[in-house]
Amino acid sequence: MNTDLRESLQREFPHLEFLHEKEDLIPYSFDGTAAHYSQAELVVFPKTTEDVSRLVRFASDRGVPIVTRGSGSGLSGGSLPIPGGLIVCLSKMDRILEVDTKNLCLRAEAGAITAQIAQAADAAGLFYPPDPGSMRISTIGGNVAENSGGLRGLKYGVTRDYVMGLEVVLASGEVLFTGSKCVKDVAGYSLRDLFIGSEGTLGIVTQVVLKLIPKPQARKTLLAIYDKMEDAAETVSAIIAAKIIPCTLEFLDAMTINSVEDYAKVGLPRDADAILLIETDGPAGAVEDEAQKMADLARQHHAREVKIAQTAEESFKLAEARRAAFSALARVAPTTILEDATVPRSELAKTVKFIQETADRYGLKVGTFGHMGDGNLHPTFLTNEKNEEEMHRVECAMKDIFDFAVGLGGTITGEHGVGVAKKPFLAKALGDLNISVMRQVKKSFDPKGILNPGKIFDL
C-alpha cells in the first residue's frame, strides 16, 4: 500500500471520499467482464467536474495512472483497475441537470444511470432510445466511453447517435466542452466523436448533452419460433432485404432460451432451436403493416409459430427477459466468456452455423444470442476459468470466430468495446496503419499516458 499517495491525496482533497482498505478494493477489482481481475491503489469519488480536473492534475504531476469508472458493468474490461493506480469513480456525480423540451435534449452528469435518463425523457413525453442490456445500472458516462449499443440499435442507432455535446476533463486537467445543442454543427473537427468510444483513454467525460426524439405512437412485439437456427438467421436477412427496419430484431438460441426462461419465466418455448424477438414501432398504421409483413416473412422461412404480444406489459417482459440473456447464461456454467463479433447482415446464417461448428470442433458449450438485425452476435462460451486447458480452447475458438467475422468484412466488437478482453485481436482486425494513427491520437491527447493506459492497444 502506497501510504504516501494516499496521505497526500487525502490532504489535498479533504472533502472527498476515498477507499483504500483491502476489503474496499477487492469489490472494485473487476467489471462485468469474466476472468479479468486486478486491484487499484485507491478509489476516489469526485463530486464535481472541478474535483475531477484537480484529481487529474494531481495524478499527472505524479505519473499515477487513472481508470475512470461508473457502475463497472462494462463487458470488455475497459474499467478494469490498474495496479498502483487510481480509480476515479463517477457514480456519485449522477444528477440529471436539464430536460430541454424546446431543443429536445437532456443534460446529465456522467454518473447518471441510463434507465433514469430514459425515464426522465419519458416523463417529458420524449424518448432516449439506446438501451444496453445493463441500462438499469450502467452510467451514461460509461455508455459514451464504450459507445454502447442495445436492443434498438437497428432502427435507432447507438449511443454515439444521441450525443450532442460532451464536457471532458483532459489529461492536462483542463475542462473542454465539445459539441452543442445545435442540430447542425460543423465547426472544426468533431472532437466529441473522438471521445465517444475512446474508453477513457483520451479524457474523462464529466457531462453529456443527449439528443431526445418524440416517442413512437405505437409498438408491437412479435415472437417467431424456429426448429432450425439457420431459418431464424434467413428470416432476419429476408426482413432487411424487404427494406423493413424494425426497432428490435433479437435472436436467442436453444441454450439461451432455456437459461432465460429459468430466470424470467415468460413462457419462452423451451423445445425451440431458436427464436426471434421482433419489435416494430412508429405510427399505428405502419406498425400494423410492418408486423404483418414480418410475420409473413417468418412463416415463409419455416417459423413454427409466430406469436404477437397482446399487451404492453407482455412486450416489456419479453424485452426485459432478453436483456437478462447474458447473465442468465451464467446459470449453465461457472464462467461465461461473452463475444461480440459482428458481420454484414447478409452473412448471418453462415456465421451462426460457423459458431456452432467451432464450438463443436473445440468441444465447447456455447450459447448464442444477439442483435441479429445489426449483424451483432454474442456467442457466449460456457466454461470454467479454473480449467486452464478448457480456457485455452475457448481462446482458440474465439480467435477462429474473430478471423471468420473479419474475413467476411465484419468486426471483433460491435458494441462492447476493446478494453483488455479484445486487445489481442485488434491489430488483426484493423491493420497496422489504423493502430498507428490511434497511437498518435492517444499521444497528442495524453502525452504522459496516465489515462487508462494499456486499454484498447499498447503504446
Binding site: E23, S29, G32, S73, A324, F326, S327, A328, A330, R331
Partner: protein, 429 residues
Amino acid sequence: MSDSLRSLNYLDLQQCMHCGMCLPTCPTYTETQNERNGPRGRISLMRAIADGRLDVTKTFGEEMYYCLGCLACETACPAGVQYGHLFETARAEIEHSAVLDNPKRNAIRSTLLKGLFTRPRLLRFVGRLLWLYRATGAQAVFRGLKLNRLLPEKLRGLEAQTPVAQAKFSHELIPPVMGHGRKVALLTGCVQDIVLADVNRDTAEVLAANGCEVHTPPVQPCCGSLHAHNGEPDTARLLARRMLDLINPADYDAIITNAAGCGSHLKTYDRLLANDPAYRERAEAWSAKLKDVHEWLDLIGLRKPQSPETPCKVTYHEACHLCHGQKITKQPRNVLKSIPGLELAELGESTWCCGSAGIYNITQPEMSAKLLKRKIGHIEKTGADVVAAANPGCHLQIANGLRDAGNDATVAHPMSLLARAYRAERGQG
C-alpha cells in the same frame, strides 16, 4: 448446509458473474453507492476468503452485518446466485472466527439468540414483563420522566420501539383444534406469539373458514430463522429438530406459517438438516409441506367473503422474505382484493426492505432509520388507511415509523383483514 466459506462448493461463489444487475435493487448499495455495500462486492469478498486471498477480518464481519439479508438481489439475479445461502455461511464463519467479539456484543447475542430465543417459556415470560411494563403504567412513568436520556444515544430510539405485548398468547386465543377439512398445523412463531397473537387467531379463523382442520400446538419453539440468519447454524439445527419433534409433517396435509421471515427459513429445513441422517427424511417432508398461508389459500382456492362492503383503502408492503425469500407476490394481493369494499392502492417500491430485517433495526439503527423513512414516504403517497404486511418485524417497524411521522394509518396482517370480513359475513363484525 456448509458453515464455512472455504468448505462451500466453490461453484456457488462462481455463479456470480459480477454483471451488476443486483446493484439497483440492493438497499444498502443504493444508499452508499459503495461496491462493498452491494451483493457482488460482498460475494467478491467471500470469494477472496475462499481463495485464501483475504482472511475473515473484522471489516468483513461488519460488512456482512451491514447487509440486511433482504434477498432483493436473489430476485434480481439472472444467474440464479443463492445469495441467502452464501450470506448465512459467511455470517456463520464470522461467528466461528470470533472477529467481531466484544463483551457487550457477546452478552447481547448469548442472551437473545442462545438464551431467550431457544426457550419459548422464558420468551413468553419476557413477553409478559413487556405487557406489564405497559399495563402497569411503568412505561408511561419512564416516558414521563424522560428516563430515556439515561440510555446511550444510539439506543434512545429503541425504547420508543418497545413492542406492545398482548395480554394473551396464541394458544389462549385459539382452540387446539378448529374447523373441518384439510388437516393443517399452524405455526404461531415466537415474536408473533407475544406481540401479535391475534394475527395467529385470525389466521386460524381464516383457515377454518376455508375448509381446514387447524391444529395449533401450544408453546412452540422458535423456528431458528434468527439463528440461521445471524451465524448460529448449530442452534438453528437444534431448534429445527425440536420443531420436527413437536410437529410431524406426516400427520398433516400442510404446515402453515403466516410470518414471512419464519416461512423463508422453515422451507429450508431440508437443506439445514441434509447431513443429519436421523432427521433428513422428516426435514424433506417438512419442507415440501411448509406453506405460507397466502400460498396455501391460493392452492386450495380462497373462498371470497360475502360480507357487506366496508370501504377501506389498503396498501400492501411486501415483506422481503415473502417476495424475495419465497417469491410470493400475487397471492397476498389476491387475498386483499377478495375483500368486499377494500381498495388496493399499489405501494411504490413495495418490495424494498423497510429496515426491520430481523434484529437489524437494533444492530444498525442508522441504516434502518433511512430505509424506514423511505418506506413511510411511499406509504404516505398512497393515502392508505391501512398498510397490510405479513411479517411481525415489518409490522412493528412500519407501525413505529407511521407513529413517528404522525400518520394515522394502521398496520394489519392480510389475514386479520380477511378474518374481519368473514366475521362481518357471519354478522359478528
